[in-house]
């Protein structure tokens, strides 16, 4: 199934997901106390090496993941320049880059199954207030299983739509997509109930 994470056996892949997330949260807080742009630039260079220590491929993928936000960050910088706050603009933009790149690093080097295990563990306290976590785990699994199916279904529907003569699919395609999914949902819930329910 589709996932962002890279397969690998580097040190970052082998360290525990909980540890990586804790480190990420700590660094994300600490980064707000750094108000020197040179220091932040060094952080960014450090992150490049961090990615490179995993593999060159990780560095490339990390760059790709950053591409969509570069424009946004550029826009923020322009606004700060227009206000004449050159330095604080640079600091904010660098800080954003560091934060996003670090968070992406954790995602790239963590397996989906490990992340899910940790997520369900974090949800454990919900049991104390009487919320069962088993249905949440079931729902997570269902989304992972069904999303590719639904994507395929949407593609088929728009293909048959085009085969009937409409050159471009427009918003109306959403209605049949929803209706088929609603029918699926009814059948799947019946099937789950038939097998003993949640």
């Amino acid at each position: 199934m589709l996932a962002i994470s890279l397969a690998g056996t580097s040190w970052a892949h082998n360290s525990r997901v909980g540890f990586k997330l804790a480190a990420l949260s700590l660094i994300s807080i600490l980064i707000f106390f750094i108000t020197n742009w040179i220091l932040l630039l060094f952080c960014l260079i450090g992150i490049v090496f961090l990615y490179y220590s995993v593999s060159f491929n990780a560095l490339r993928k990390g760059m790709n993941l950053l591409r969509p936000i570069v424009l946004v960050i550029g826009l923020i910088w322009i606004f700060h320049i227009l206000r004449g706050e050159y330095l604080s603009g640079i600091i904010i933009c660098l800080r954003l880059l560091v934060l996003v790149a670090l968070a992406n690093f954790v995602t790239l080097t963590s397996k989906l199954s490990d992340m899910m295990e940790l997520f369900l563990w974090i949800l454990n306290p919900l049991k104390l207030i009487g919320i069962k976590t088993a249905p949440i785990a079931l729902a997570l699994g269902m989304v992972i299983r069904f999303t590719p199916v639904l994507i395929e279904r949407a593609k088929q529907l728009s293909q048959s739509w085009r085969a009937r003569g409409l050159r471009y699919t427009n918003w109306r395609i959403i209605i049949p997509i929803f209706i088929t999914v609603i029918d699926d949902a009814d059948r799947v819930s019946e099937a789950i109930r038939a097998r003993g329910g949640v």
């Binding site: 199934m1 996932a3 923020i76 604080s88 954003l96 918003w171 929803f178 949902a185 819930s189």
Partner: protein, 184 residues
Amino acid sequence: MEKNIVYIALFSGLIAVLGLLPKLTLVSGIPITAQSLGVMLCGIILGAKRGALAVLLFLSLVALGLPLLAGGRGGLGVFTTPWAGFLFGFPFAAFVTGYIMERLRSLPISIVASFSAIIGSIFILYAIAIPYYMIGAKMNFFQSILTMSPFIPGDILKCILAGFIVNGIHKSRPNAILSWARTR
């Protein structure tokens, strides 16, 4: 119970599917995706609680590392940008949209759906996203509005489309509009 869980799960898959639909380019030249339309439809069709849960489930999977956001984005990084206020606002948007939907049952469904989408998925969403952006990017109110304004026509268009879409679904599967279902 089973029905609720399955609807929540499949609708959160639908949010992902809508993110993959080809982009629409408005007159203003800003590309809009149908992803937030998915959030509106979750609220409208599933109602307040289930709609918000479907969106939360979707966001959890994005955070865990699935590239379900429009443009194939995902992972923890998308939650650290100043634009993440939109993501954090999505569950609230779906909740309010669904809540209004549940309260107004006597009017035609397309009108109620569009109205609740405008309140929940524009006003509430931007009321969360704008302050978040102001803090995250250190911008003032007017600069933030200026940055986001190109997206607002698209959002209004999506609210109107949501009305037509829900009308179509209601005609063929009236029982599927859980927000309007008589029995809970």
